[in-house]
Symmetry: C2
Subunit: 259 residues, 2 copies
DNA sequence: AAATGTGAACTCATTCACAGCG
DNA sequence: CGCTGTGAATGAGTTCACATTT
């Protein structure tokens, strides 16, 4: 194919699978709890239970980091805490800015998990001039005008967007232009960013909709006990396109068509 | 042992892949925007761009729902909005309770996306007696004692946990015992639930740690651009420690928890 | 001509099962 | 023995590419 310049095929590189990376914080949290209880070592079985995964997966995950366990014994808790922290980049102190200090932004600023390990709230930024100077979680809110300034002065590379959806892309563009290369987006919108910038998104309504999908399925599945079906069908929707003769998945779906 | 199950039970009914389910809300949002602009039809290419995925994936996703497009033309926006809404269970009105009305809980209660489509905040619940009766987002907070009551009276099957980590499992157990079968967990802890109960988790610090991992990687790879290096190495005796004794790389890591 | 719908190929992730080491 | 570490087997998800339909 000759895609010009892929990445390195890396015969033996640091290729940690994305799915594994996403679980490392989970392991780290479980290990930290063990560490606080002064537990010296832990088996893959125990740690997996604490992290809510199965032990084969956990061992495979750790195998990408190296051989940090002792056969017949398990893993040294302190040592693993350090190795995972290092792998995740938490032996550095990452300055973070939060943009959009509404209800959510304020909640995030107050979130204890920030300072606890690896992250530091470098600034809170809001577009409302009335907010400027007001302290939230002990930090004075600064106006959006200062954004580029703040990013550069503090060497910020991670930004959190907690603005309304309408402002998110614009804020994102400014963050990126100022040097931010990782963004955590709480606004319910798709962000477009240049190559090399990472975006992760947290979206309440998406999560709820996924739950609703499975919930709906449970009701029809039957089988044994249908606990609390609840959810009254709402009138809505009756005004749907006049059904031509579309095909359902197979045959046709039960009822619920617009009457 | 019994690790908290979260994954799909592989119902033998109509098997829509989990990854597809997770994208349906994204498509729905993009379609709703088009609908508001009175756009009648849309191609897979256009819709995919709006949702931030590629078009082959989108077409494959839709193929699990049925044949809702027209070759040579595209998809009817209104019709697709309805089909996806129905598939996600949003033609019902799901009552939801939020437990833990701190900063985060209040932010969630105020989140507009709730009422907008398919969900209704049935109650806000908090363990602090001083909160009882206080209105948040126009709804009076109720005390935890009322929890079982509220769940049953309202036929609630979806619960949102926004308590401190220490209280989350206990709240979860009570929700489940009262009939809740889907839980959205904002507390930074692994919940253990019986089979048949779905849990999804939203965790700020995990997301940040994943970003930090990739951010760290960017620094070392390419030498050309290197925009904003930032992140000062924090006090950290580089001594990787050949294991064994020693307290640990850092002091403590308090359990992170939302206010 | 245009764009869907889908088998087939491919890539990524999980699970199995056991060899190998302390 | 007990438990890790890992190839091999299986499964899930994505992408390709094109026959098919309007």
């Amino acid at each position: 194919m000759a895609t010009g310049r892929t990445h390195r095929p890396a015969t033996r590189s640091r290729g940690i699978p994305e799915a594994t990376v996403a679980r490392l914080p989970l392991y780290l949290r479980a290990l930290t709890a063990l560490s606080e209880r002064s537990v010296p070592t832990v088996s893959s079985e125990e740690l997996a239970a604490a992290a809510g995964v199965n032990s084969a997966k956990l061992r495979k995950d750790f195998s990408y980091l190296g051989s940090y366990g002792t056969r017949g014994v398990g893993y040294d808790v302190e040592y693993l805490v350090y190795q995972i922290s290092r792998e995740l980049g938490l032996t550095q102190d990452w300055p973070v800015v939060i943009v959009g200090i509404g209800n959510l932004g304020a909640a995030l600023a107050n979130y204890g998990g920030f300072a606890s390990r690896g992250f530091r709230v470098a600034a809170l930024i809001d577009a409302d001039p009335a907010m400027a100077g007001k302290p939230v979680a002990g930090i004075a809110v600064q106006h959006t005008d200062e954004l580029e300034h703040i990013i550069e002065d503090n060497g910020v590379s991670i930004g959190v967007i907690a603005t309304p959806a309408g402002a998110a892309q614009q804020v994102c563009d400014r963050l990126v232009a100022a040097g931010v290369t990782s963004i955590l987006n709480f606004a319910p919108t798709v962000l477009t960013v240049p190559d090399g910038v990472d975006v992760r998104k947290v979206d309440l309504s998406i999560e709820l909709q996924i739950l609703a999908f499975h919930e709906q399925r449970k009701a029809g599945d039957d089988g044994a006990a249908a606990p609390a079906p609840a959810a009254r069908a709402v009138a809505e929707a009756a005004a749907v396109a006049p059904a031509d003769d579309r095909k359902g998945p197979d045959g046709d779906v039960p009822a619920v068509m617009p009457a």
